[in-house]
Symmetry: C2
DNA sequence: GGCCGCGAGCGTGCATACAAATTCCGCGGG
DNA sequence: CCCGCGGAATTTGTATGCACGCTCGCGGCC
């Protein structure tokens, strides 16, 4: 797993000292997901993307001073950003010793997928009961768009729409707590997914499962949709397990 | 809105100005649940207890300066504490407008109970599969202790053991993510429970359900235990709904 | 030669000062 | 009498300085 040892992926190698190049933040990371102030939310988004994408390795320490100079912000918003990441489970906080990017062994991923599957299964039951026709129709539209990307073998865009479908089902449950749990786990899922290169056979199977899921959702068969979604994530676990065993 | 006239439950009324009485924090709140430093963790525990117990009403603003003077700490750890509470869903963060204690109407509680029931149902299945005999035996012990408190009509202690049983089942699932989700939701559950005075009829029904749950757990019948636990919370919802309708 | 104690360096935890944003109150105009 | 507007006060967001705790390396001791 050759991840670059260079901690910063966004800073070009032109300026040797990041402190002399105080670009206040990458404006591209200024998405609407920021919670409070602009700096805090931007720092969360940037660091989260770095961890999820694997730009920083598990076990790496997040030193405040270093990140402050790199991002061009102060320690106060950075500390709050790190705390937010800790609540998402991406980093672990050691008392008086800072934050370390959490490990991601196979058992953790298995537990994560079980939990997400359970959340989605519960949301699926509710979505079939209380979801609006418009919401289900939108999911169907995204599904078909995703199928186009499947035949085109456009994996990144496929995964993006895939996530939107799953999120849409949880949203259709009209249960803000389930949605909150799902949003909390979503970054970790994206991170785990990056561990294994997507297996073509698994991709085909996942598409078939999605076809069945859409049918169950259209029929508003909550029990069937729930039974389909709960193992949906676990089915993909075998690929990750194989990759983890190859990597040691 | 008449939020508590007495801001501090721990500060005796002897000193009119809390700023002149910088008791650094109530040592009783210095429990081990604190995450990082002592001040931050203690502030979290104290504020959380206040919200859960209803000492501060929904919709009340958490003004930083006021709480700082009252707790005798600075704004930095207090802000991190508020952020932790926000991640637990006890307060909501408004950009540039501070933190407000989240509302708790019936639909929110219903969503919360559905979510917690789903998490516990998933954990129940796993606990029956991978839980150790020692863990199940401990749950059985607590169950019997709880039954003693039931016949004694000792509601507070009963609820404490009740929570330990539910937590024990999630722990026995050996799934740290499910446990994390459960711990995240637990304060909100305790808070919602305080809304309604416990109904005797519901108490009897809950005890019968717990008897069935213990039987299913002892038999390691995951499907049955899961089917029992998922509606277990929702059954108690009717009492809260009645209380909410009485209160308007 | 190996083990223990100790001090320097580093990094986090906390406190405080400054700045931006929002809200509320008062005033003038319609 | 109601609405719009401007300024001051309050409150959050950010930056920075100080102090404690931890780690690690060196010197002394067994």
């Amino acid at each position: 797993m050759t991840v670059h040892a260079l901690p910063a992926s966004s800073v070009p190698a032109g300026s040797p000292d990041p402190a002399l190049d105080p670009v206040p933040l990458d404006p591209a990371s200024l998405d609407g997901a920021g919670r409070k102030g602009r700096l805090h939310g931007a720092a969360v988004a940037l660091l989260r993307e770095r961890i999820v994408s694997g730009a920083v390795l598990p076990g790496a320490f997040l030193r405040e001073k270093e990140l402050c100079e790199e991002l061009g912000i102060s320690r106060t918003p950075l500390r709050e950003a790190i705390r937010t990441l800790a609540s998402e489970g991406l980093v672990r906080l050691a008392p008086n010793r800072g934050a370390v990017v959490s490990a991601l062994d196979f058992s953790e991923v298995e537990a994560l997928y079980q939990a997400v599957g359970q959340v989605e299964a519960g949301a699926a039951k509710l979505a079939c009961r209380v979801g609006s026709d418009a919401e289900i129709a939108e999911i169907r539209v995204i599904h078909h768009q995703m199928m186009i990307l499947y035949v085109r073998r456009d994996l990144p865009e496929y995964l993006a729409l895939n996530q939107r479908i799953h999120r849409g089902i949880v949203t259709a449950s009209h249960n803000p707590v389930l949605l909150e749990l799902w949003e909390l786990l979503a970054p970790r899922v994206r991170r785990a997914r990056g561990l294994a290169n997507h297996d073509p056979a698994r991709w085909d199977a996942a598409v078939r499962e999605h076809e069945e899921m859409l049918a169950a959702l259209t029929a508003r068969d909550g029990a069937r949709l729930s039974a389909l979604m709960e193992p949906h994530y676990l089915n993909g676990l075998t690929v990750i397990k194989a990759a983890a065993e190859r990597a040691g």
